[in-house]
Amino acid sequence: MITAFVIMIASFQNSRAESGSPAAPVSASEEALLFQEIPSVYSASKYEQKVTEAPSSVSIVTASDIKKYGYRTLADVLRGVRSFFVTYDRNYNYVGVRGFGRPADYNNRILLLIDGHRTNDNLYDMAFIGTDGILDVDIIDRVEIIRGPGSSLYGSNALFAVVNVITKRGRDLKGMEVSGEAARYDTYKGRLSYGDRYSNGIEALFSGTVYDSKGPSLFFPEYNSPTTNHGLTSGTDYDRFHSLFVKTSYRDFTLQAASLSRIKGIPTGSFETDFNNPDNRTRDQRAYLDLQYDHAITAKNQVSARLFYDYYKYTGDYITSGVTNKDRGLGEWWGGEIKLSSRSFNNHRLIVGTEYTFNNHLDQRNHDVYPYGVYLDDQRRSEFWAAYIQDEITLIRKKLVFNAGLRYDNYNTFTDTLNPRLALIYTPWGKSIFKALFGTAFRAPSPFELYYQSPTNSPNADLKPERISTYEVVYEQYLGDHCRATAAGFFYKIYNLIDQMETAPGSGITIFRNLGQIQSHGFEIELENKWANGIEGRISYAFQKTVDLATDGILSNSPEHMVKANLILPLWRNKLFAGVEQQYTSLRKTIDNSYTSEFFITNITLFAQRMAKGLELSASVYNVFNTRYSDPVSADFMPVTAVQQDQRAYRVKLTYAF
């Protein structure tokens, strides 16, 4: 949120630079305001100013992209973005960025915000991006993906990226909207939304979604024996959820509430559970309440405040040799944040803020139902507070922007931490932008990593925070009005990496440890364009080499090469579009030092709008060429080291607004 605002401000500073001294009194040629030629908003390519002026490398995915590429979840959105990759263990989706993606890390190295509200839970620090995501992608207005360390503003978890999801508002719907979709594997989804902005100034949006998928039948060669159904499992990959989202605003206040309950079958036999048993499952229940206040005190000073309450409950049923093990997690936390931004000083844009979070419940329990046996019953509370400051200084006739930020976090569970970020943004010519960035970020060990104990996991209360230092250079070049080329080079080093490993080889018992250092370097290039005839697309290549310094070997689940190509083709007027996506991921090392195969994935969506009033139709084919590929998974899945992914799948979707 802050970043987005800073970015926007920066673009206006440039505008001022171009327009000389606009604070002067009435121009003699004032009537020129009437006759000037103005570029049409319809040809504007997304949020180019935001992207260009940000003190980081930014990608933005809009609601239009989500429709035209047929994205089903936030994981699909992120999968299509430069330098991001997503692995799926057939329960949760895990994001990898710039060659770093630890299977089963619960996405705790990215920070996921919804309208500025931190959504990573307090037990596992998990960012939910799959069908466990609290937000239906249909009510996303845009997703801002800010690469690089963000702890100087956002604190823990912002190691590799901050993903800020901006939701739609009542005015975006202006009435009722109903949506239904059917997909392969007996998958059905329905959504009912209503939103409007009323003449008394109140704006409201309500949206509810129900989802049910039986899931595919799967084959695991590791279980290919008569006792485990020859490796075949069916009826175990089911996925069901229902969610609710409410957003109301009145003048400076916005109240938001969201909830989700999702049940997912576990088909993989992970945690040494009985293979092909449909009773192996997890249930995630997530809810939050967020009250935000934004007020302009003066033209140059704004205040923003937030009060929030969050709830997360996890329940896992794991059947081993007929014994049901119940795994429970309960997280509840509340807090507040206040932030002031000021431009009262010449050439400075200053942001200061503070936040406080109280973790009312950090409860974990693990027990066998019969014979009854308790392995863990851990109940805790904790709190932390933080203060941050950021200044953006504009220098050399507005051509150079120096951005410096610093945040202090104080946890009562471990020592405090200080994280800076420095950025130099140089715009020697209007369409060339150079950025040099440095920052550090941290991740506090989660209660799960510190205290979790079960028949297959040992606790480790001595874990230290994980830290990252990142250096990055970015060159962005506009070629024409809507063509942008980006080249970025990066180097990062992670200290005290928290990772899961077996307590002893072959023990089947895992533990989280600070495993030393990870080092990575790489570069990315991307070209995106939007033509006047409506065709738009982007192509990117990312190279990264991520090494575990302890072994000097390539890190597992770290693809060295990724290529992504996205194209939207208007097929008929402004009514029918084809969205084509191509993704290449090179081979990745698995936990047993073997490699998954490289793969190409092609997704195609036909999207129709305005065929009839209020009607939208889409038909998607995912993995068009039926590529067989697998994603590396964690030690919890042994003997499975890589889990097969969905083959060709389709989805048809109908949305009607009335």
Partner: protein
Amino acid sequence: MIGIKLFFHCLVSCLCVVPLFYAANASGNDKIAVLISSSESRFDEALAGFKEYLSNQNIQAAYEIHHVSGDVFTTEQTVQHIRKSKPRMIFTLGSLGTEAVMKRITDIPVVACLVMRSDILKKSTNATGVGLEFPLETQFSWLKTILPKAKTIGVLYNPAENTKRIEDAKRIARRLGLRLEAVEVFTPQDIPSALATLARSADAIWGLADSLIMSPHMAKHILLFAFRNKIPLIGLSETWVKAGALYSLERDYSDLGSQCGSMALQIWNNAHPRSIAPATPRKIFYSINLKTAEHIKLLLPDEIVQKARTVY
């Protein structure tokens, strides 16, 4: 050598003086000096309307046409030249020339056209004319017609330029049952937070002619903001509507010239400019953008669409 230079100077002086002599002589004082501030085609339309009106009234004036641009020195020279040529009246098109003339010439009647606001003419003892801006009552009445559900109207303004305007607008809006939420903007950097404030409360954004805010550099930002936040923006002119504003009120530039012509006729017939009140455009059209209306899910009545001069 000196002789050649002297001869050359004499020749140049003669070449300059002869046309002035002819111009002065041709009029006997039937001459109207015209000062045009822009090469924009609407200025030509207004001048043609002016000439046609006077011609239809059997006024056979000689027109001495001058063009000015932003160059202060050239403008100054041109105004001095007009002053020396002593025309019967001066017809200015555009505020650049109008302000320069009003500053230097107080003894020749001035009729001004295509100036944003007719208010500036009230300060002068020898000028009258027609402003481009419609009366606030007219603007808000049209707003109520096209956007009947809009109650809170947001506007950005630079206090150095528009304080009085905003005070008047608030009063008039209140009278018409509207609430004007005016947010001060001192520099372009203030605009994002000002727009964010409006996004939370405004049902529509009124585009007030303000050189700080509605400048060409800011136009794209403001239009995009309105577009993305689904707030109808009332543009300053058709070009704004074409670019994405919902609607704008439009003028008939030829008729503006005629309107000025009628004032010029009164002055020609010895009326004093001070006796002729500055006016606003008498003809009103409007342009609308249906793509924008669709984007913000606004259903405009057929009657409104059909009566629009231009529909995008």
